[in-house]
C-alpha cells in the first residue's frame, strides 16, 4: 500500500511520516504504555481478585469467587458500600445546588466579572487536595476556626462536632469538586437561546417563572453532565474520607487502602476495587436515566 502511494503523483500528501504506517508508528509508544501500564495491570487486578487468601498470604490459585462472596455476606462491608453510594449522592446534590447559582451569575455577568469568577472556581482546582483537606481539618475541628467564630459570636454555646462525620467529608468533597460542577452548567447556560427568555418576558412571564419553565429545563443536560462527574469523583475520593471522616467512617476507598497496607490482603482489595467500579458505573447509568426522564423531549 505504501509502495503504491509513493509512486503516485497526485496532490502532495505528507508521505512516510504521516502515511498510515507513520500514523501507527506515532501512536506506538503511547499504545505500548497504555497496554503494559494500564490494560495489563487492570486484567491482573481482575485475576488477583480471584485468588484465595489464607494464613500463609496469597498467590496464584485456582480461580475462586471467595473474595466477592465474603464481601456480599458481611454487613460491615455492605455498610461501607452503602455509605460510599450515599456519600456520592449527597455530595452530588449539595455541590450541584451550590454550583448552579455560580454558573448562572457567571453566564449573566460581563466579561471582566466572568473572568474573575472562572479564576476563582478553577484556581483552587490546581491546588493540592491534601493541603485543602488539611485546611478543612483546621477549620472544622472542635477547637477549629469555625467553632471559635460561632462560639465567639454567641451563636452556639458548645462547639459543634463537625469533624469525623458525613458533613465534614461532604464539605471537603464539594469544595474540591466545585469547578467540575460549575463549568458544565455554565456551558449549558451559555448555549441557551436568549430570545426564548426575551419572548417569555414579552408575553408577561415573571423572572422566576421564566427560570423554572425555560432556563432550568434547558440547562438540565449540563446539570446531568456535572452530576455524573461529581458522583464519579466522590465515590472514588480517598483523601477526604480518610482525613475528615475519622476512623470509623469506612468507604470503599479507605477499605481498599486498609486491606493493601494494614491487612495485606491484596486479593480482597482487588475485589473491593472491582465492586466499587461496577457499582459506580451502575449508579452513573441510573443517574443518567433519571435525568432523561425529566429533561425536555428535544434534549434527550
Amino acid at each position: 500500500m505504501s509502495q503504491l502511494s509513493h509512486n503516485t503523483r497526485t496532490v502532495p500528501r505528507l508521505g512516510g511520516m504521516f502515511a498510515r504506517t507513520g500514523a501507527l508508528l506515532q501512536m506506538a509508544p503511547l499504545g505500548a504504555i497504555f497496554l503494559t501500564l494500564f490494560a495489563v495491570p487492570m486484567l491482573l487486578l481482575f485475576w488477583v481478585s480471584l485468588w484465595r487468601y489464607d494464613v500463609n498470604g496469597f498467590g496464584p490459585t485456582a480461580p475462586t469467587v471467595e473474595n466477592y462472596a465474603r464481601f456480599l455476606t458481611d454487613p460491615f462491608y455492605l455498610a461501607a458500600l452503602g455509605r460510599t453510594v450515599l456519600l456520592g449522592l449527597v455530595t452530588t446534590t449539595v455541590t450541584v445546588i451550590v454550583a448552579y447559582p455560580v454558573a448562572l451569575i457567571m453566564a449573566r455577568s460581563g466579561p471582566r466579572i466572568r473572568a474573575l469568577l472562572i479564576l476563582l472556581v478553577l484556581l483552587p482546582l490546581l491546588m493540592s487536595v491534601v493541603v485543602r483537606v488539611f485546611g478543612w481539618m483546621v477549620i472544622l475541628g472542635d477547637t477549629g476556626v469555625l467553632n471559635k467564630f460561632l462560639v465567639g459570636l454567641g451563636l452556639v454555646e458548645q462547639p459543634l462536632r463537625l469533624m469525623e462525620s458525613m458533613t465534614s467529608v461532604v464539605i471537603g468533597l464539594a469544595q474540591v469538586e466545585m469547578a467540575f460542577a460549575v463549568m458544565p452548567i455554565y456551558s449549558a447556560l451559555l448555549g441557551i437561546d436568549r430570545h426564548l427568555d426575551e419572548a417569555a418576558s414579552t408575553l408577561g412571564a415573571r423572572p422566576m417563572r421564566r427560570f423554572l419553565r425555560i432556563v432550568l429545563p434547558l440547562s438540565l443536560p449540563g446539570v446531568a453532565g456535572a452530576a455524573a462527574v461529581i458522583f464519579s469523583l466522590s465515590v472514588a475520593a480517598f483523601v477526604q474520607p480518610q482525613l475528615l471522616g475519622g476512623s470509623s467512617f469506612f468507604v470503599m476507598t479507605t477499605l481498599i487502602y486498609q486491606q493493601v497496607t494494614a491487612t495485606l490482603n491484596w486479593p480482597f482489595a482487588a475485589a473491593l476495587g472491582l465492586i466499587l467500579l461496577a457499582v459506580a458505573l451502575g449508579m452513573l447509568a441510573l443517574i443518567n436515566a433519571g435525568f432523561r426522564l425529566v429533561m425536555p423531549r428535544g434534549l434527550r
Binding site: Q26, L126, P207, V229, F238
Partner: protein, 274 residues
C-alpha cells in the same frame, strides 16, 4: 416592586452569594498559609505573631527535602515522557484515517475516568510482579498513565483546528516533510503541547492515588508525606511545606493561563467524562 429596584436587589444578592463562594473556595488554603507563619509551635488561627522559622525548619529537614526532590523529579520525568508520547500519538491519531478514531481516543483516555485508587492498585500489582515498588521509575511510569491523557486530548483538540490545509500549502510551495512539521505543524499545536505538559506536571506533582501504593519509606512524594504527617500532627511545619506546594502550583497555573487559558482545559472537560 419596580423592575429597577428588583434588579438592584438581585445584583446585591448575587454579589453576596459570590462573596460566600469566594470564602468557601479560598478559606482552606488561606488558613493553611496563615498557620505556617505562626511564631508558636502549635497550629493556631489567626496566627500568633509572624515568623518564617517553620519554613527554615522544613527546608532544612532532610526528609522533607528528599520528598520535595522526589516529587519534582517524578513530575519532571513523567511530564517529559507524557508530553512526548502524548503529542506523537495525537498527531498519529489525527492523521490516521479509519472509523472509530474517536472510540480509540476514548479508550486511550480511559485512565482519567477510572477511580485513581483502582488504577493505582492495578499498577502496584504490576510492579510488584515485574520489578518491585518504591523505585522512582515505578512512580514515574505510574504517573505517566494518568498524565498522558491530558496531553493527548489537548494536542488532539489543537490539531482539530485543521492544520492539514496549511501543511498542504507548504508542501505545494516545495517545503519538505521535516520543514513542514517544524515550521507549520509544531507552531500550530504548541499551545496544546505546552498546556498539556504543564497540566501533566501539576497532576503528577499533586497526585495521591497513584503514589499512595507506589511509595515506600525511602522514596515518598511530598503529598504522600504530608498526608501521613497530618494524620498524627498538624504542626506549623506541615503547614509551611503545604504552602510551598501550593506556591509551586499557583506559579504553574499562572503560566497555563498565560499560554493556553485555564478554561480550555476544563471547559470541555465534562464531555470527556460521559
Amino acid at each position: 416592586m419596580s423592575v429597577r429596584r428588583r434588579n438592584r436587589v438581585a445584583a446585591g444578592l448575587a454579589s453576596a452569594y459570590m462573596a460566600l463562594i469566594a470564602v468557601f473556595m479560598l478559606a482552606p488554603v488561606v488558613v493553611v498559609a496563615a498557620i505556617s507563619v505562626n511564631r508558636v509551635g502549635y497550629s493556631i488561627f489567626p496566627p500568633l505573631g509572624f515568623s518564617l522559622r517553620w519554613y527554615g525548619e522544613v527546608l532544612s529537614d532532610a526528609q522533607w527535602r528528599a520528598s520535595l526532590g522526589t516529587s519534582l523529579v517524578v513530575a519532571a520525568l513523567s511530564t517529559v515522557i507524557a508530553a512526548t508520547v502524548g503529542t506523537l500519538a495525537a498527531i498519529g491519531l489525527h492523521r490516521a484515517d479509519f472509523r472509530g478514531k474517536h472510540v480509540l481516543l476514548s479508550v486511550l483516555t480511559s485512565p482519567l475516568i477510572l477511580p485513581g485508587l483502582i488504577t493505582g492498585l492495578a499498577i502496584l500489582f504490576f510492579f510488584s510482579l515485574v520489578s518491585g515498588v518504591g523505585t522512582t521509575w515505578s512512580l514515574v511510569l505510574g504517573h505517566v498513565v494518568i498524565t498522558y491523557p491530558y496531553v493527548l486530548r489537548l494536542v488532539f483538540v489543537a490539531l482539530a483546528r485543521d492544520t492539514a490545509i496549511y501543511e498542504q500549502a507548504a508542501m505545494t510551495l516545495g517545503a519538505d516533510e521535516v520543514t513542514v512539521f517544524r515550521r507549520i505543524t509544531l507552531p500550530l499545536i504548541k499551545s496544546g503541547v505546552v498546556g498539556g505538559a504543564i497540566f501533566a506536571f501539576i497532576i503528577s506533582f499533586d497526585n495521591i492515588t497513584i503514589s499512595l501504593f507506589l511509595s515506600n519509606p525511602r522514596t515518598t512524594t511530598l503529598p504522600i508525606r504530608i498526608l501521613e504527617h497530618i494524620q498524627w500532627s498538624g504542626s506549623p511545619s506541615v503547614a509551611a511545606i503545604s504552602t510551598v506546594l501550593i506556591a509551586i502550583t499557583v506559579v504553574l497555573a499562572v503560566v497555563i493561563e498565560k499560554t493556553v487559558g485555564l478554561q480550555k482545559i476544563f471547559g470541555g472537560g465534562a464531555d470527556e467524562f460521559r
